[in-house]
Symmetry: C2
Subunit: 185 residues, 2 copies
Amino acid sequence: MRADAQRNRDRIVETARQVFREQGYDASLDLIAKQAGVGPGTLYRHFPTRDDLIDAVMQAWVDHVEETTEKALAHEGGPRERLLHWFEEYVRLISVHKGGPAKITGAMGDDSSPIRSKCEVLQSAGGRVLDDLRAEGAVRDDVTPLQVARLVGGVATIADSSDLEVGTVRPMLEVIADGLLTDPR
Amino acid sequence: MRADAQRNRDRIVETARQVFREQGYDASLDLIAKQAGVGPGTLYRHFPTRDDLIDAVMQAWVDHVEETTEKALAHEGGPRERLLHWFEEYVRLISVHKGGPAKITGAMGDDSSPIRSKCEVLQSAGGRVLDDLRAEGAVRDDVTPLQVARLVGGVATIADSSDLEVGTVRPMLEVIADGLLTDPR
DNA sequence: TGCTAAACGGAGACAGTCTCCGTATTGTCG
DNA sequence: CGACAATACGGAGACTGTCTCCGTTTAGCA
């Protein structure tokens, strides 16, 4: 890639990161272009669709996901405690941007989604948490990680669109956790 | 209201019902106006916001909700069976139009939403199902009907945006149900 | 230094939302 | 019946966002 192209690409991604954080994923792309000091054409050449741009923006976020997963796996406590801890981290992770929960949860299980690769990190993270608990016989095994992701993602989506406080989701996550755990609470 | 105003209002609602069913709730309002044979100004005078129009369209749907609720309350079977039956009916009800689950679940608990009155029917219906089960001591009492609506609405929202088959949601609803029920399964 | 492939960027086509205001219709009252 | 408010209509157009085309510029190589 030519040097100027690389420079512009970087500026667009950096600008997009800020604008998305402030205004959500449906912010105007032309505005992002202008703010980055490039023409709309340049933005659209680098990122033909909105999702392609979101994908690029998420690169740093992916690292954060991986780090958080490690911590969640090492979390102390009983199965219920660990499961809930992961759920809360998960909601926090996908809610960093407005509209994020819907976007990410929607992309899961959709092989053709441009941001699918990014969701995979999350999905495998959830899979690991679940596998660990399953190995102890703590959670039922007739539910797939994808289904769990959709359950928790659904709650996060509603919380996001209704501007609910993060703490508000806890009781709902508990219901899901209790529905998944095998042993009596 | 003047006779011509009433006539136009009716035509707009009827047209909107069809267009929403075909294209979802984000269909173009100017197109609905044109299709109804009125100017955009007329549509916007009758319905200042999109939600106001959706509210009017939903009037017939409300009757359907009430009828379905009666049946669900009369449904035979154990607590788990009855709860799940209601969940499935609920998902079906809010998913009649594309985008419906997000729209309806988002409006719940939002006192200022124009479509709130319509959601109330659903909410009280859910409350009745839950109350009945609670009276038998079958479901935990530390979870509010609103939280249950959000849990189930979340699943419906994801299913709607991911174009999932209706049958696909059953396992997820089971998790929620099991998380709510008090007795061992 | 000159050339060419690569990249830029902005004008503008297109679509949707929503408003303003001149025009038309309704229904009432003398 | 006829006229005159009050009410309602509707479309032109302002505004915003998406996305493309193509004439112009620039990087990087020989």
